[in-house]
């Protein structure tokens, strides 16, 4: 076997083989996940066109699919979203909202027969904010709130829940 840097190493051959191998692997992966066909019979299959794992994680809709004993099952995943990617997705979603809004406005203006349609302002800064502020708590945060409430109510040393009566409990006998 010629070394990696040797002069008569069949470079092109090896590279092509590698490329083919990679393509083959990818194809198998896509076939397994049902990404090749839009109307695949495989349960939970998704089309490649509008599929983004990152976006699904952001929307909290991500369902990892695994082929397990010939069945598709939902399992836990180690996929996570970086803060930077999340910010980017948030920003892009904002732009998408605004673009939609602009398109609608454009349509309205056209229907009203506004001659200045083409000069319609596309300045984003004058548009109303489309950002929806999420005031609701996430479930985990809510649970934390509830638990914190219990903790703060039970700060005193007398949080003991047991029942202390007159007698107590005496069991057994002293001899062995």
């Amino acid at each position: 076997m010629p070394s990696k840097n040797s002069i008569n190493r069949p470079k092109q051959l090896a590279n092509n083989a590698k490329r083919q191998q990679r393509a083959h692997k990818k194809a198998i992966f896509r076939k397994e996940y049902g990404l090749n066909s839009l109307n695949s019979a495989v349960r939970g299959a998704r089309a490649r066109v509008d599929y983004s794992t990152q976006l699904e994680i952001y929307k909290n809709e991500y369902k990892p699919l695994e082929v397990h004993h010939g069945r598709l099952t939902n399992l836990l995943s180690s996929k996570s979203l970086s803060t930077k990617r999340a910010q980017k997705i948030a920003r892009n979603l904002k732009y998408i909202e605004k673009r939609k809004y602009l398109k609608e406005q454009l349509k309205l203006e056209k229907n009203n027969g506004n001659p200045n349609v083409n000069t319609f302002s596309t300045d984003i800064s004058v548009l109303p904010s489309t950002k929806v502020k999420d005031n609701t708590l996430k479930p985990v945060e809510a649970v934390k709130c509830y638990i914190n409430e219990v903790i703060s109510n039970n700060k005193q040393p007398s949080f003991n829940s047991g029942f202390i009566g007159n007698q107590g409990t005496l069991l057994g006998k002293a001899t062995f």
């Binding site: 995943s77 609701t136 479930p139 219990v150 903790i151 047991g162 409990t169 005496l170 002293a174």
Partner: protein, 617 residues
């Protein structure tokens, strides 16, 4: 991975062989008798050397010797019965002696103490908790709460017992001249031991009333979802939780009341997923639910028709969690729920581990930590290094092993059963000892030569066992200690990954891999919190017994008397649930119209010495 078995065979193994008819009941009873006799034997061994003021300090039996002697005694008793038959019989739960915070699994081999002493820090240093201290020293000391676990099986019909004992300071009774305890056990340990005993007895009565549920007191019936006249999982859980709370205690994760079947007695929990699991189990998530129920805000949100958005989301995520539980396993019936009814003809195991919260300063979560060969080498020095001594063969795995010792070890192990095995059992010398006559005079117990041979055999088997374990042909039973983590620490932990990680080593029942599903805390995250300096070990009391329910009579296969203790807590007589419990206990005392329970008695001394089995009752 599951083994494919034909439907016919499955029916025979799971259904036909589990019908509680006369021969099966006899086998269960005999297993119960042998288990109880062994408990009596080891208790008197402990009393003879730790509660006898005349005893020479140099003649104490160490913990590893006690385990060895108890196992040997049990094997000798088992060897007497069903001699010509081909049925399997043997030890189902090797004798383990767990001290204070150790919850299960401490059953050292004869050669383990040296290793453990060498690998651990000085046991007298301040950081080491009391249970670890005695365990490292390999001798019991005064004030130790010790849990003895034993069990045997005859033809797969298993009985188990766990009993909590205490080592008392002693004095001589002036009247009888015998030594007795100077006073009852007090404080947190007494609370835990008392409620464990009481809860066990009450649950036995509840299970027994499954044969005639119409006798259930009204106050208990009303606990069931629709006020049904049945003994359900909900009722069992509610009653146990009520008792535990009355004594200001908490149940340790892994406590359970479950149905057992032939060869399925909970010895492989977390390793083999069992189809049609039936029983109540307690894990960390139950404590999470109990804590949430205490929150006023949570109750308000629940009662409020509209409810908060977060609450709706929470319920959604709960449903999603349940779906995930189900989808992860092919057999849903392997996941334990409370929606079951106890019927006569079933055998149940009650196994309750209780810790008292009297000594803790803040609200917290009771959880367990698994000790390993490296756990003692942390910088905090608060844990100890252990060496697992119980191994379970995983029959789904096959492999040709390289070392001859490994192959020998494996073939010997295959001759044992699906129950845990200690290396000692594989020794030829030990097998010879089993055939020798039983020695009941403790002064004469002297197996020093045999013990030396067994220690040498163990050394060889251990090498083989290493390869077996490395190839996953067997797994080892862990040693676990109970720890208390303040909720404060858990709530404030940085947890960006959520529940996406699973601890594959943690032996929990299927469906309970995530300890705190509502807080999104995974087992690995919880494991990392165990290192926190505010986490403390708690002494645990444990009671277990096996109950066989038939239409006419309920057999309490394993029975043990409570130890001498005094707790400041008692049951609140004004609570309806307590009244129901009192009525139930009254019913069990009424021999004519009440619930009929028979305590299976241990073998008589004559029967132990004689060569024929004792089946008289």
């Amino acid at each position: 991975m599951s083994i494919a078995i034909s439907e016919n065979d499955t029916n025979i193994l799971l259904k036909t062989k589990n019908v509680l008819d006369e021969p099966v009941l006899d086998k269960y009873q005999l297993a119960g008798k042998i288990t109880q006799t062994t408990l009596q034997y080891i208790t008197s061994l402990i009393n003879s050397c730790y509660h006898d003021s005349n005893k020479d300090e140099n003649q104490l039996f160490s913990i590893s010797q006690l385990c060895f002697l108890a196992d040997l005694f049990m094997n000798q008793l088992l060897a007497k019965d069903f001699k010509g038959k081909t049925l399997e019989k043997g030890i189902a739960f090797p004798c383990s002696i767990d001290i204070d915070e150790i919850a299960n699994g401490w059953s050292p081999e004869l050669d383990d103490p040296l290793f453990i002493k060498e690998k651990n820090n000085d046991p007298d240093s301040e950081n080491i908790p009391s249970g670890a201290r005695s365990s490292i020293k390999n001798f019991l000391s005064i004030g130790d709460l010790i849990k003895i676990t034993l069990g045997c099986q005859i033809d797969g019909y298993t009985s188990q017992i766990t009993h909590t004992l205490c080592v008392y300071p002693t004095e001589i009774n002036p009247e009888s001249g015998l030594s007795q305890a100077t006073g009852p056990l007090l404080g947190a340990k007494a609370d835990a031991a008392a409620v464990a005993q009481i809860a066990k007895d009450v649950v036995v009565n509840l299970l027994a009333s499954a044969a005639s549920p119409e006798k259930l007191p009204e106050n208990l019936k009303s606990v069931n979802p629709n006020g049904e006249t049945k003994v359900t999982g909900h009722l069992l859980r509610k009653v146990v939780d009520h008792l535990i709370e009355s004594y200001n205690c908490a149940l340790v994760p892994g406590s359970k009341i479950r149905r057992i079947r032939r060869f399925l007695a909970g010895q492989n929990e977390g390793i083999v997923a069992e189809r049609e699991f039936k029983g109540c189990v307690w894990y960390e998530s139950n404590q999470e639910n109990l804590l949430l129920a205490k929150s006023q805000q949570y109750q308000n949100d629940l009662n409020n028709n509209e409810g908060s958005n977060a609450l709706a989301l929470l319920q959604d995520s709960e449903n999603a969690h349940e779906d995930k539980q189900k989808s992860a396993f092919i057999y849903d019936s392997a996941i334990a729920t409370d929606d079951f009814v106890v019927y006569p003809g079933e055998v149940y195991l009650i196994d309750l581990k209780v810790v008292s919260l009297s000594d803790v300063q803040e609200l917290g979560l009771v959880t367990v930590e698994t000790l390993t060969e490296y756990s003692g080498s942390t910088s905090t020095g608060r844990n100890m290094t252990v060496r697992n001594s119980q191994f379970i063969r995983d029959y789904t795995q096959m492999k040709d092993l390289k070392l001859r010792t490994s192959r020998e070890c494996l073939s010997k192990m295959d001759k044992q059963s699906v129950y845990p095995v200690k290396l000692t059992y594989l020794s030829d010398e030990y097998q010879k000892l089993i055939q020798s006559p039983i020695e009941l005079n403790f002064q004469n117990i002297n197996y020093i030569e045999s013990q030396n041979v067994i220690v040498k055999d163990n050394l060889k088997s251990r090498m083989g066992m290493n390869e077996i374990i490395d190839n996953f042909l067997a797994t080892s039973k862990p040693v676990q200690i109970v720890k208390y983590i303040p909720w404060d620490v858990i709530v404030n932990v940085a947890n960006p990954d959520g529940v996406k990680s699973i601890d594959a080593v943690n032996p929990t029942l299927p469906g309970f891999e995530i300890p705190l599903p509502k807080l999104n805390i995974s087992a690995l995250k919880l494991k990392s919190l165990l290192k926190n300096s505010r986490t403390i070990p708690l002494p645990v009391a444990r009671e277990a017994c096996t109950v066989a329910i038939t239409d006419s009579l309920t057999y309490k296969l394993t029975h043990a008397e409570p130890i001498y203790l005094q707790s400041k807590y008692e049951l609140n007589p004004n609570s309806p649930l307590t009244q129901g419990i009192y009525q139930l206990v009254e019913l069990s005392k009424d021999s004519r119209f009440g619930i009929k329970i028979r305590n299976v008695k241990p073998l008589s001394e004559k029967a132990v010495k004689s060569k024929v089995p004792d089946l008289s009752e």
